[in-house]
């Protein structure tokens, strides 16, 4: 085993027992980035000197006994989350040279624990896409097959963890942008409950949907990191004050008597046959662990994607109006103020971003607002209610994270609607606000990983960790990309 295969828990233990220094650990990861990132392209920027200096500070803390569970742990951050003094491009030309002026709340909370940031990761422009092909700086490759997409939009963060370039990473999930790339890259990916984590310092995409999530190698590692970033924040009025439990202490090894729902609408036609087989085998693991499997129904599921592709673009068109060439970012000259707007936005934004702004502007414009936006918000309530009702019968639900395997570059980028359909199993959770986690659950014949999505009621992330951990232990899947 190479040092860069290490889990957070092991690394933390080794650092505490002085079996390894933070400098050695961080240097190994920086070295790995040098070795593999030319082919994977997970990172948009790497902060080698800062990381090594940070590692030395961590070693100082370990020596004088003031270390924390994350001290010295190398991590990566999606480029739409602000880290003071570091570039934050969000994968867009319009922010190519933008340096973040402050730390996002999640970064501030992590920094209190003194981990070491390696760099900022690649993504679809402003988190719009399912493959990283919409990054203005070129796509990230799937570490398991460099001809295939890593998923998106947080593809860089997922690939970085999968390729051993970081022990954990942060991403953001608006319609599946943490869970789907986690599934495609064979790592764990969490989307918390809407309101669970502060979005202060996250570039806004769809404000009623966005959440910051965590990528890691194991469910336990995910629980450790999540415990540090969860909780309310006075700088994000949508973050709610529910207490944050000790997730690690609530992990389980068996699932005796736990009721697991299989939403029948998620197991219909149109799924890759091999993916279906892996998921069915995973459900048998849950049974072996003592869980009771039940079919449940989320009757409005088929409308989730439509609701999402109205609400999200409307919010996008409002949120991205701030990129106007006046206060920061790219600014192109024009004869009039209007021309500055037109020139800057038309040149600085990519085609998928513009497409979504256009849909959003249309669906919220006079005469169309009631037919599209208002209607979508009403149907959204029905979808949310479906989840609430189903969770009166079961404790958690399981579905595939994605109906398909990672596709080859270019395969779906010609037809936007085809790409949108890839979000089919993940968007429902964002629309309803419930949390979900993708856990590696097997591999296909061609060696590509498959993810199982576990869903819990609002603010019950501990159920995701407990059941995910038990599943992961029982499955004992050992996968690693050949790079």
């Amino acid at each position: 085993m190479e040092l860069t295969d290490i889990t957070l828990k092991e690394a933390s233990r080794k650092l505490a027992s002085k079996g390894i220094s933070a400098r050695e650990l961080v240097a190994a990861f920086l070295n790995r980035v040098k070795q593999v990132d030319k082919s994977v392209h997970a990172f948009l920027s790497v902060y080698e000197n800062e990381a090594l200096a940070c590692a030395d500070e961590a070693d100082g803390r370990i020596l004088d006994g003031t270390s924390f569970s994350l001290t010295g742990i190398p991590y990566a951050v999606k480029d739409c989350i602000l880290v003071k003094g570091a570039k934050a491009t969000a994968g867009s030309k319009i922010l190519e040279n933008y340096i973040a002026p402050y730390d996002a709340t999640v970064i501030k909370k992590l920094k209190d624990q003194t981990p070491v940031m390696i760099g900022k990761t690649n993504m679809d422009e402003f988190a719009m896409g399912s493959s990283t092909e919409n990054s203005a700086f070129g796509p990230t490759k799937n570490p398991y097959d460099l001809d295939r997409v890593p998923g998106g939009s947080s593809g860089g963060s997922a690939a970085a963890v999968a390729a051993g370039e970081a022990i954990f990473a942060l991403g953001s999930d608006t319609g599946g942008s943490v869970r789907q790339p986690a599934a495609f890259c064979g790592v764990v990916g969490l989307k918390p409950t809407y309101g669970r984590v502060s979005r202060h310092g996250l570039m806004a995409m769809g404000s009623s949907l966005d959440q910051i999530g965590v990528f890691s190698k194991t469910v336990e590692d995910c629980a450790i990191v999540f415990g540090q970033i969860a909780g309310t924040d006075e700088r994000d009025s949508t973050s709610l004050p529910q207490p944050v439990p000790d997730y690690v202490n609530l992990l389980k090894e068996d699932l005796k008597g736990i009721k697991v729902g299989m939403p029948k609408e998620y197991f219909g036609d149109g799924m890759d046959k091999e993916v279906r087989k892996v998921i069915e085998d995973s459900i048998k693991v849950f049974e072996r662990l003592g869980a009771i499997i039940e079919e449940v129904s989320l009757p409005h599921s088929k409308y989730a994607l439509s609701v999402y592709y109205v609400i999200m673009p409307v919010e996008v068109s409002a949120n991205l109006s701030r990129y106007d060439g006046i206060r920061y970012g790219l600014s192109l000259p024009g004869q009039t103020l209007e021309e500055v707007y037109y020139n800057t936005r038309s040149e600085g934004l990519g085609s998928e971003t513009k497409r979504r702004i256009m849909i959003g502007a249309y669906a919220s414009s006079a005469g169309y607002y009631d037919a599209y936006y208002k209607k979508a918000i009403q149907v959204r309530r029905l979808i949310r209610q479906d989840f609430v009702e189903a969770f009166k019968k079961v404790d958690i639900m399981v579905t595939p994270t994605s109906p398909n395997r990672p596709w080859k570059f270019g395969e779906k980028s010609k037809d936007p609607l085809l790409m949108y359909l890839e979000d089919i199993f993940t968007v429902g959770l964002n629309v309803a606000g419930v949390p979900g986690i993708s856990v590696p659950s097997g591999v296909l014949e061609d060696g590509l990983p498959v993810g199982l999505q576990i869903i819990a009621p609002h603010f019950a992330e501990e159920r995701l960790f407990a059941s995910g951990h038990a599943f992961e232990k029982a499955l004992d899947l050992k996968i690693k990309p050949k790079l």
């Binding site: 700088r235 592709y309 109205v310 006046i326 209007e338 497409r355 414009s365 209607k375």
Partner: protein
């Protein structure tokens, strides 16, 4: 439902985006396809109360106390053009 070229131009104006001829034609097709897809929402009977934007809890407000979150220079320094402590823009009124 198909989106006309004029409609594409109207929306582009609202969004402060400009497109050339071929781009407009492509957008006509793409936007029509997406809007046709989401049109399935029309078949749902959804009678929901007026409080559409209701969230879980009440609005969470912090005390109205001034604080320095970010240094003013840090922010102004990112502007493409400024004058003193102001962002400088082209004249707004003719």
């Amino acid at each position: 439902m198909a989106i006309s070229q004029e409609e594409v131009e109207r929306i582009a104006r609202l969004a402060r985006l400009k497109f050339d001829g071929p781009e407009k034609t492509k957008l006509q097709t793409e936007l029509s396809a997406i809007l046709n897809y989401v049109d399935q929402l029309k078949e749902v009977e959804a009678k929901v109360s007026e409080s559409e934007f209701e969230t879980e809890g009440a609005n969470l407000m912090r005390d109205d106390v001034a604080e320095v979150l970010i240094d003013r220079e840090e922010l102004l320094g990112r502007a493409p053009t400024r004058e003193g402590n102001f962002f400088k823009v082209k004249s707004v009124l003719d």
